[in-house]
């Protein structure tokens, strides 16, 4: 049994898919016409798909965002016109959980940087389940700095449970590495477009997501903490993760309302992995459109807009109860 809710639910559908395929192949080879049975099954299939995936709870979205078949950063990056990977932090190590380099997107040179989890167990081990070490964030910083120096727009893809919480990451100053990324992204003199394609976990995700335009896939999540971690701490009960997921307002829809993200890219019914190629096309089109808009702004305007954007995020009140700032 998978520990992923969505994978579990898909099992029934897979059975149905198999039967439809069987009938189809039988229909092609046997004299009896079964097209009405096939049509009925397909109708049923669509109906179940709609029932199961038509509207997802935040907790379901958490699992959708973590779906093992969900397109990863490299699935997007490999669909750029061209990509030349640049490796390493120039100091200590090349962290495979960060993939970055020069790329052409719809003919436009950009710097592409993404968090990369594995697409199988072996790759997951190599890529540390997409949780970057300080060396990874230092690579991000280096590439962002290079992009800023060369005038190349920065395209980031966010997909991580969070920054690596291991011993050597602490020893190599994970905090400093993330803080330095944030610093670099607040001063990069080029357009930055970030897309949360899967899980946007905490500060480790934000390190790639200070951007002039932030996109989220419809069923991706972006959260201050994992629902499990939040439940463990605030409820002292990890089984409250589902409730935490709902309370954390970690869905794209909530975050757009708060002004934290700027755009939502819809996913096919059943999630991005049901049409990986289509979703990648759609995202790259939206990223390109955002860059095209942003490229019209001067570096000074970009920096000013970016500052104002983050400066105003967060609701608060004066002591008099009068609202002086609002999130929306």
């Amino acid at each position: 049994m998978s520990n992923n809710l969505i994978v579990e639910r898909e099992k029934g559908l897979l059975e149905l898919e198999r039967r439809i395929a069987e009938l189809r192949s039988a229909n092609a080879t046997q004299p009896v016409d079964m097209s009405s049975e096939i049509a009925a099954l397909e109708q049923k299939y669509r109906q179940i798909l709609q029932e199961v995936f038509g509207s997802l709870t935040p907790w379901e979205k958490v699992h959708m965002a973590r779906h093992p078949n969900r397109p990863t950063s490299l699935d997007y990056i490999s669909r750029f016109d061209r990509f030349d990977e640049l490796h390493g932090d120039r100091q200590y190590r090349d962290d495979p959980s960060i993939v970055g380099g020069l790329a052409l997107l719809h003919g436009r040179p950009v710097m592409a940087i993404g968090q990369q989890r594995g697409r199988d167990t072996k790759e997951n081990l190599r890529r540390n389940f997409g949780m970057p070490a300080p060396e990874g964030y230092r690579k991000v910083r280096r590439l962002a700095h290079l992009a800023s120096r060369l005038g190349l727009p920065i395209v980031t893809l966010v997909d991580t449970k969070g920054a690596d919480p291991g011993i050597s990451s602490e020893e190599h100053a994970q905090s400093e590495a993330i803080a330095a990324c944030l610093h670099e992204f607040t001063k990069a003199r080029v357009p930055i477009v970030a897309t949360v394609i899967g899980e946007g976990g905490s500060g480790g995700a934000l390190a790639l997501a200070i951007a002039d335009h932030v996109i989220m896939l419809e069923h991706s999540t972006y959260s201050v903490a994992s629902p499990e971690g939040c439940a463990a701490i605030l409820w002292s009960d990890a089984t409250k993760a589902e409730e935490a997921a709902a309370r954390l307002k970690l869905t794209a829809q909530d975050l757009q309302r708060f002004g934290i993200i700027d755009e939502i890219v819809p996913e096919p019914l059943g999630g991005a992995h049901r049409d990986g190629s289509g979703i990648v096309t759609r995202v790259l089109t939206e990223v390109d459109a955002a860059i095209a808009r942003l490229t019209a702004r001067s570096p000074e305007e970009l920096l000013e807009d970016r500052y104002r954007k983050y400066r105003r995020l967060g609701a608060w009140q004066t002591t008099q109860g009068e609202v002086v700032g609002q999130s929306t």
Binding site: A163, P165, G166, I167, S169, E170, E171, H172, A173, Q174, S175, E176, I178, A179, A180, L182, H183, T186, K187, S202, G203, L206, A207, I210, Y222, S223, V224, A225, G229, C230, I233, L234, W235, S236, K240, A244, R247, L248, K249, L250, L255, F258, I260, R306, Y307, Y310, R311, L313, G314, A315, W316, Q317, T318, T319, Q320, V323, V324, G325, S327
Partner: protein
Amino acid sequence: MPMPEWLRIRRSKDSDNREAALWSKCPKCGEVLYRRDLLANAYVCMRCGHHFRMGAYDRISTIIDGDFTEVGAEVLGGDPLGWVDKKTYGAKLSGDREKSGLAEAVVCGFGQIGGFDVGLGVMDFHFRGGTMGTVVGERIALLLEEARRRRVPCIIFTASGGARMEEGMLALVQMAKTSAAVTRFTDDGNVLFTVLTDPTTGGVAASFAFQGDVIVAESKAVIGFAGRRVIEQTIRQRLPDQFQTAEFLLEKGAIDMVVERRALKETLVRLLEYTVGTRVQR
């Protein structure tokens, strides 16, 4: 040290339950200490030198020469998510206000240190574990913006469990807000000193705490990105006691210096003497 006038006024306005407690027991050596003596010794155990976690106003009174004018005090918490777990967020906030005598987890303002005008932000672990929500982010940003206008150095004392979960992503993006404010402040030629006190972790460590031009840490303070328990769960073994202490980080090259609390003010004055009045070049 005598309590400065601003602090006396402040104290008389806010309820401060901790004042009521006359005695404190040292968690390290077990010594029972008279609270007034402890305050006079900057909350350092007279017997074993243990650094108690310090309240923001107490800290300010040990650092600032005399007067202290708050900025951002009018910025108070909302409850943007309508949060409820075992309690409502609102109840937690009022409870902490009651208990700590603080309106939020950071106090910011302006005063003098050794005769130098500075902006000063002090976080307080007693309020929601020093977590950073919208108010903390907003106040830190206001402090840096006002210090930039005044062209004075800024000193921020950190003490934080990280981002405040009850405010969700609005808390997390305060890392971006404060980082942007630091960038603007320092790019404009001003100097930021951060003083990392026990504990400085998570989203605060990974933003302005580690963006200081000089990073000072208080002796024995726990400093890190991930919490000890998270790491221990991940690696399934116990970490050495020394792990993530200020002294450990000094060896690992992450911070500039470790300072005993009673030498902190003197150290800050020295740092200001090196840097104030020099024009900044880029």
